[in-house]
């Protein structure tokens, strides 16, 4: 069966095939345990139990002391692209806006200061350019993922 997952490196296509009780991915093998965990045998000979849980579209996997988050891309779903938008990393309150619309900024420059979980978080310019839009003012609440500001990237 074919699945597509979003990882930090981009989307990855995975094809697994089942023979008897054993699943195959290239040289790697896996079996489903009665408690819902997976016994994974890697090509290198290493093996371990993976604990899995699905939250929304995302599979959370614990394997060999590491935790992975793999979002399943539904077949046919369109990819949302990364634009020049700077989004709130989590819900919080804007406590300072340090730039104005039209202002030239450099990559890494602090644009906005948020307060979340009683701590300050700085929103930094992802790229050099000009501020195209500012969507929140100091004192306003923001939701996770809200677009806070937009930058028009310099074209050199």
């Amino acid at each position: 069966m074919q699945h597509q997952f979003r990882t930090e490196q981009g989307s990855v296509e995975v094809i697994v095939a089942k023979q008897g009780n054993v699943w195959h991915l290239g040289e790697h093998q896996a079996t489903v345990e009665s408690d819902g965990r997976l016994r994974i045998h890697l090509a290198s000979g290493a093996s371990g139990l993976a604990t899995v849980a699905k939250v929304g579209d995302t599979w959370w996997i614990h394997f060999e002391g590491h935790t992975f988050c793999l979002e399943r891309i539904e077949p046919g779903a369109s990819q949302s692209g990364e634009e020049g938008g700077l989004t709130a990393p989590m819900p919080g309150k804007v406590i300072d806006v340090l730039v104005k619309v039209g202002q030239a900024v450099e990559a890494g420059q602090t644009l906005m200061v948020l307060e979340a979980m009683k701590m300050e978080h700085r929103i930094l310019a992802s790229t050099s350019g000009h501020i195209k839009g500012i969507h929140f003012a100091a004192g306003e609440q923001v939701q996770q993922g809200s677009v806070l500001l937009e930058i028009d990237e310099d074209e050199d």
Binding site: T7, W23, L25, A50, F63, G65, M90, E120, Q144
Partner: protein, 503 residues
């Protein structure tokens, strides 16, 4: 006499205290905000009263409402835990005046130690060494910035800006160069104002290469003041402790004895009662300086409990009831390490994370203790501190304690919310941690550009395969089918399976 204790806190520390009350045979009252109605600590109390209001100010910081609940429930003692109102002298005073026993030191001791300037003067007078530093008294922004600039030349660089009424790393900024001072000062004042309603800051010299070492003390009304040895908490990120241990790996008998004496002198100077912690910076030279005194139970108290065998919270209850503390002569035995599990994305500059605890499986086995306020199925929300749990291990030696911590962290499974488990696990392999040569700047030095996990590519293959197989096999639909199959093979009446041959 103490018979009914109101716990004016939530989460992990409320659970710790409520369990101690149960063990001591005391009746307990929990108070909770509406968004905590399903939290573990509410279950652990004999009685739980809903706080009206939405914000923290209206609920857990609402002195008047909490006092009313204490009176209406007939509580005769109040345990403030840590954070929230635990170091508010005015609250301690109001509680005491209502005829309710405050489980902690007197309001005047809290006042003297809570104000960093008064604390410094008190300590200097008691013969305890202090770090060069100055307080900026003015509240006015412009005047304060001028005063900060002038004071910085006397204190010297690198320096540290701290909120005068602060704690927990809030309102704290390290400044390396004079040109960064003003921006750091504005930001520290703003954070201090938001967190504590007091924008005053304090400047002190930053002693580089130093260890953060603190002494736990206990004092009762029968004239006994003892120290329970030290904890080292040098591994900090933004002045938030993440890895704590006892004993300190570089401690000598001479330094421990001198530091212990200084801590006891500090407690005596303010007529201390109950449990408290005196924090020091231990310089590479072996000199130590008073940092501050925390007039409450601390997050990292379990490491001291594991190496001394003293139940510090139980002693707090005993001391508040006017009884002498129960511990006899103390010996430190073995080594204990605590790590703080946070719902945060260590690879994204430690941003707090939220989500469901779809799976929460703590490690088990010898030498392992878990202090937590959550369980599987709970939701991590942005409403409160993102600390999920404290994982504490004990072993006969430091090396074995580290090995045990590595094993425990590898076993710890949390799915649905991002945590710092892997970061903590990798900390256990950092040479400075292994050697015990940690200092307070270690994390910033090791990962100046932020931390990211070192991940064998093969494990990623394994994870991708697990996700693909889980999706193909429909494991996300399994929960219901498993519940169905339990009808046949699952919980059976114990009377059907019990062997009935009683002796």
């Amino acid at each position: 006499m103490v018979s009914k204790v109101l716990v004016a806190n939530r989460g992990e520390i409320a659970c710790r205290i409520l369990r101690a009350c149960r063990e001591a045979g005391l009746t307990s009252v929990a108070i909770y905000a509406a968004n905590d109605s399903k939290s573990l600590f509410v279950e652990l109390a004999d009685q739980a009263i809903l706080l009206e209001g939405d914000s923290i100010t209206e609920t857990y910081l609402n002195q008047r409402q909490i006092l009313e609940i204490a009176e209406s429930t007939g509580a005769d003692a109040l345990h403030p835990g840590f954070g929230f109102l635990s170091e508010r002298a005015d609250f301690a005073r109001a509680v005491t005046q209502a005829g309710i026993q405050w489980i902690g030191p007197s309001p005047s001791a809290i006042e003297k130690m809570g104000d960093k300037m008064t604390a410094r003067i008190t300590m200097r007078d008691a013969g305890v060494p202090v770090i060069p530093g100055e307080e900026i008294e003015t509240e006015d922004e412009t005047e304060a910035l001028i005063a900060i600039e002038q004071a910085s030349t006397r204190v010297g660089y690198p320096l540290l800006l701290k909120a005068s009424s602060g704690g927990g790393g809030k309102g704290m900024r390290a400044v390396e160069h004079p040109e960064d001072l003003l921006e750091a000062a504005r930001s520290a004042r703003r954070e201090a104002l938001a967190a504590f309603g007091d924008g005053r800051v304090y400047l002190e010299r930053l002693l580089t290469g130093s260890k953060h070492v603190e002494i736990q003390i206990l004092a009762d009304r029968h004239g006994r003041i003892i120290h329970l040895g030290e904890r080292e908490c040098s591994v900090q990120r933004r002045h938030q402790k993440v890895f704590e241990e006892a004993p300190c790996s570089t401690m000598t008998e001479e330094i421990r004895s001198a530091m212990g004496k200084a801590a006891v002198a500090a407690a005596m100077a303010v007529n201390y009662e109950g449990a408290g912690t005196v924090e020091f910076l231990l310089a590479p030279s072996g000199e130590f300086f008073f940092l501050e005194m925390n007039t409450r139970i601390q997050v990292e108290h379990p490491v001291t409990e594991l190496v001394t065998g003293v139940d510090i919270v139980r002693e707090q209850l005993r001391i508040a009831a006017g009884e002498p503390m129960s511990c006899g002569e103390l010996h430190m035995r073995g080594h204990a390490i605590e790590v703080r599990l946070y719902a945060e994305d260590a690879a994204q500059n430690f941003l707090p994370a939220i989500g469901p605890l779809a799976v929460f499986q703590p490690p088990e086995g010898p030498g392992i203790r878990l202090d937590t306020g959550v369980r599987e199925g709970d939701e991590v929300t942005p409403n409160y501190d993102p600390m999920l749990a404290k994982l504490i291990v004990w072993a006969p030696s430091r090396d074995e304690a580290l090995q045990r911590m590595r094993r425990a962290l590898d076993e710890f499974v949390v799915l649905g919310t991002t945590t710092n488990i892997r970061f903590l696990r990798e900390l256990c392999d950092v040479p400075d941690v292994v050697e015990g040569t940690t200092d307070t700047t270690m994390i910033d030095r090791l990962w100046p550009e932020g931390w990211s996990p070192s991940l064998p590519i093969e494990f990623e293959d394994g994870a991708l395969m697990a996700a693909a197989v889980a999706e193909s096999a429909g494991l996300h639909r399994q929960s219901t089918s498993m519940a169905e199959s339990n009808e046949h093979t699952g919980p059976v009446s114990p009377f059907m399976t019990l062997n009935r041959r009683y002796p």
